[in-house]
């Protein structure tokens, strides 16, 4: 075959299709694999009872609840400052060196390896502030990791509100804060919620930052206060996949499916909110 530009194009496009297929096929395979093997392990008992027999039997209730606690804790410590920081960057920040520095700091936060967050949380929250290995320390650690996600998605949502809205509001005599509270925020709420969920989704699936700040190998009781350690789904999965000899595969598949459902469920909700808001948008 002669390599005319047209033939080259055909080969090239076929190559790109092949690359894209290679990229996504394993993802499909992984999800189907986990669904098929995990579903038989799921039962009401599995998600509502305690582990038994050295975690080889029984359910994973404490791990599920622990991940819920950690996610709520992370939201408490990351959502208010995250939204405020985004409002500052969009509505107040002057275009100067300090603002540039804030951006570099944010990008840096977003890139720090998760295990380094774990070290920091251990050094600052567990040891220096004496919170001990606790839900509080782990939530604070996760919240710093989540912050850049929340800031940047909220920023995007705020920026998508047309500037004319602000100009009109100010010209009608509203103050800057009134404009933000009554005009800009209501318009960007769906985008902000999407960002929050995506940030929390990442936090819920993380293992390394909570390993030395709040996650426990096994606890016979549920945590009572935020100063208690907790079990958590991702860490529990790590433990039963690597640390326990003779672990029945069934329980492992069930756990991985619950974790996946938790995380991807949040992802789906975020996507739905975003696409509904886009359809409803009037400008």
């Amino acid at each position: 075959m002669i390599l005319t530009p047209r033939n080259k194009q055909k080969i090239g496009i076929a190559g790109l299709i092949a690359l894209s297929t290679i990229t996504v096929l394993p993802i499909v395979a992984l999800v189907i694999y986990i669904l098929v093997l995990g579903l038989p392990a799921i039962s009401w008992d599995f998600i509502t009872s305690f582990p038994q027999d050295g975690m080889r039997a029984g359910g994973i209730l404490p791990a599920i609840l622990g991940t819920v606690y950690l996610t709520i804790g992370t939201a408490i410590f990351s959502v208010p400052p995250g939204i405020a920081a985004a409002i500052y960057l969009v509505e107040y920040a002057p275009d100067n060196t300090i603002t540039r520095l804030i951006r570099i700091a944010m990008i840096n936060l977003a890139g720090i390896p998760s295990v380094v967050y774990g070290l920091f949380g251990l050094g600052m929250f567990v040891i220096f502030l004496k919170f001990g290995t606790s839900i509080l320390a782990a939530s604070l650690t996760l919240s710093i990791m989540t912050l850049p996600v929340i800031i940047s998605t909220t920023e995007e949502a705020l920026r998508s509100v047309p500037n004319s809205f602000r100009v009109v509001s100010i010209s009608l005599g509203a103050s800057r804060w009134q404009t933000i509270w009554r005009i800009v925020l209501p318009q960007s709420i769906p985008g902000i919620i999407t960002g929050i969920i995506l940030g929390l989704e990442r936090a819920a699936g993380e293992t390394a930052p909570i390993m030395f700040t709040g996650a426990a190998f096994f606890l016979p009781l549920l945590p009572n206060t935020p100063l208690d350690p907790t079990m958590a789904l991702p860490y529990h999965l790590f433990v039963i996949a690597t640390q326990i000899p003779g672990m029945p595969v069934q329980v492992q598949y069930g756990t991985v499916l619950v974790l996946l459902a938790f995380v991807l469920g949040m992802n789906v909700i975020a996507t739905l909110i975003r696409s509904r808001a886009r359809k409803k948008r009037q400008w």
């Binding site: 530009p5 047209r6 194009q9 090239g12 496009i13 790109l16 299709i17 690359l19 894209s20 290679i22 990229t23 996504v24 993802i27 992984l30 694999y33 400052p81 995250g82 405020a84 920081a85 409002i87 500052y88 960057l89 107040y92 520095l101 804030i102 951006r103 570099i104 700091a105 990008i107 840096n108 936060l109 977003a110 890139g111 720090i112 390896p113 998760s114 295990v115 380094v116 774990g118 070290l119 220096f128 800057r176 804060w177 009134q178 990442r202 699936g205 293992t207 390394a208 390993m211 991702p234 860490y235 999965l237 690597t242 492992q252 991985v256 974790l259 996946l260 991807l264 992802n267 996507t271």
Partner: protein, 303 residues
Amino acid sequence: MKNPRPNSTIKLGEWLITFFIRAAGYVSILYVTLIILFLLREGLPAFKNVDLSSLFGEVWYPIEGYYSIWPLLFGSITVTIGAAVIAIPLGVGTAVFISELAPPWAKEILKPLVEVLAGLPSVVLGFFGILVLSPFLRQALNLPTGLTAFTGSLLLGWSAIPTIVSVAEDALNTVPRTYREGAQALGTTQWQTIWGVTVPAARSGIITAVMLGIGRVIGETMAVMMVTGNAPVLPEGLNAFFLPIRTMTATIASEMGEVAQGSIHYQVLFLVGIILFFLSLVINVVSFMVSSRRMKRTERLLS
């Protein structure tokens, strides 16, 4: 007109909120500073307590006081190179396909799948690696163990793909349509337009994408710890790729739980954390500079 609240309380409330917002603006700087301070506080004493000859020796064997960072650095580099070789062609190729060629229905399939991949917790990838990938590779390649640097590279390659695809796709999307139309008006095929015009125009964005992807690979912890076999040793030859290794991240994650707070081993693990922190700092700041230079250039071109 009736005002329900006296003006001064509104003013005070507004002042407080504005103050909170301004303070929160600086929270990123505050956190980065705190992270640096605490890493240094816990990690720097290692230099005082460990001989430099041990830190830069050849063996990582903390129980006997050997704390060489070379085997760990070598492990991280090996896995990262392998992952980059896998993720760059797949990620950039997929991004080009999605942005330039794919019909709408294919985009509707590809983009959500890449997002699912982005949302998969690293421990789930590791789990899949242990149960499926490594037994498969052991049989297929006839290796003594499936827990090798190569297995880690495969998993991490995939975990870097979402970053590369989304950043590179954004970069390709910002190339003005007039570029493509201009090229095709000159009689180029679509393929020639892509590689001769569009991709070069988005070059700095694609470089940023690749760097951020590599940054993600270096920092990846759980998956790589679960599948690379936990062997902090220096390699003998090129076959190191198919032998167990251990990365810096995995070393911290697997040993930090067992050390006494404030011990030398503890300090050295923080030192490894400092190295990781500054590696990610350099990668992220450089890629930020590359992409902001691109923005300036585009502004100049379009003005």
